[in-house]
Symmetry: C2
Subunit: 271 residues, 2 copies
């Protein structure tokens, strides 16, 4: 499907765009089913927080109208919204009154081997570490060189995802997923106050856990803690939940809580 820039079909972007110059913007990758964006409220909330943190002047109402319109036309697939701070003349300074640029693109549904969801995946141990930047932590901004470097560490198909640690060796997330552990019935995920992307499916899983009376914990996870996990899984807003069956010398069965949350994610994504 054609891309849209500021609501109009377009195949090209201004060369002065600050998204290109500085990665000065945000993005959302959104599953679309039956013409509707899945988990839209959570995507919009994260985007709004990002705009606030970066002082990006986005017309949210107009953006939502375009996004719904685009999703309806895409019908089934994955929609990507990029919001940039618009054009720049020169230098890092910006005019806060300039409106953000809205870029929409669409792809067919992502296709992954069934085994990822059924038998689970092996995580590659990435040596690229996430840097600590509390001002940007949690946001899905356009500065993603760490993920590019981490994803380039493996080419085999044996590893479906990679595990990224922070500079202190804490478990943070996958390259394109968030990660959860289950330990003694408690659902545990990394605190993202220093680094990491606060994924929309992560938020949904925390909410679903709490709603069904499963204790949840957002905390620092030293790498050593992985060996004590009863279950491990990764998640994102496109594929839902993949059990993790192995990481380095560690291995886990596909656990009941993982399956339960996977079913909930699938119901959202297959609606």
């Amino acid at each position: 499907m054609d891309c849209w820039v500021d609501g109009q079909p377009a195949d090209a972007l201004s060369l002065k765009d600050r998204g290109l110059a500085y990665g000065d913007g945000l993005f959302e990758t959104i599953a679309v089913r039956n013409g509707l964006p899945v988990l839209l409220d959570r995507h919009l909330l994260r985007l709004a927080r990002g705009c606030q943190r970066l002082a990006i002047n986005l017309d949210h109402e107009l953006m939502v109208a375009e996004l719904l319109n685009y999703a309806a036309k895409l019908d089934e697939g994955v929609l990507k919204l990029i919001v940039t701070r618009g054009d720049s003349l020169r230098g890092y300074a910006f005019d806060p009154s300039v409106s953000a640029r809205r870029i929409l693109s669409g792809n067919p549904p992502a296709v992954y081997p069934d085994a990822h969801a059924e038998q689970g995946v092996r995580l590659f141990p990435c040596t690229t570490r996430l840097s600590n930047q509390p001002l940007l932590a949690g946001l899905k901004h356009l500065n993603r060189l760490e993920q590019v470097l981490a994803r380039a560490e493996w080419q085999d198909t044996e590893h479906a995802e990679g595990l990224m640690l922070d500079q202190a060796g804490r478990v943070i997330e996958g390259v394109f997923s968030n990660l959860f552990l289950v330990r003694n019935g408690v659902l545990i995920t990394a605190d993202l106050k220093r680094c990491g992307v606060a994924g929309v499916m992560r938020e949904e899983i925390l909410f679903q856990g709490e709603s069904s009376g499963i204790p949840t914990q957002i905390t620092d996870i030293p790498l050593e803690q992985l060996q004590w996990a009863d279950e491990v899984f990764v998640c994102n807003s496109v594929y839902g939940v993949w059990p993790v069956r192995a990481y380095a010398a560690l291995s886990w069965p596909v656990g009941p809580l993982t399956r339960k949350l996977q079913t909930i994610a699938n119901e959202l994504l297959d609606a």
Copy 2:
């Protein structure tokens, strides 16, 4: 002057460009005098190092030919070269065989108040800290949200530059400059192994210092060390050298070594 993309006049960029999607690329901002790029060899060396570190597949020979051609047409001003990893389909993974995209743009010479170079500048104390990422340290890559946030901290014209520290409180650089101290005749600048941009003018000043028998030191600079400096200056490849006359409650005279290095930089830039 018109922009060029891959050697052809263009006013727009592919919406699938990885520079936009992930900041997956590098840039150089180069002064052009009499149709010639100033400090070209140093710019090309940094760019080559960046391409190597990020595994960006750039046709260097072709890029240099285009750059020289563009600079000749620009004649006087500031040329910006952006190199991106080219188009992406989806996801962080890339095909290492795809050629990098080359984007050239030109601006008239930068105009700053004469007082910056003559009486010196006051530095704004930025609270935005640089994160430690040894894999990217020194490179002029397109992930520049930290600089965007830092530059947005002040709007007054009293501060011509801002000082950025790392997470441990070490003095690293300006938002768009490198920084030097002079202490007991030694020329000191920050070690950039964890963060910061290894500026081309910084390299030239270190070289000029060594060539004229001035002792130089590349080291960690705790913030407290600023108060013991005899001279402080900032530099970049466009404006050359600005003495620093004040930072917070500290102030310095414009010193003789600063003036000497400023004269050398001006000779390069006014050639």
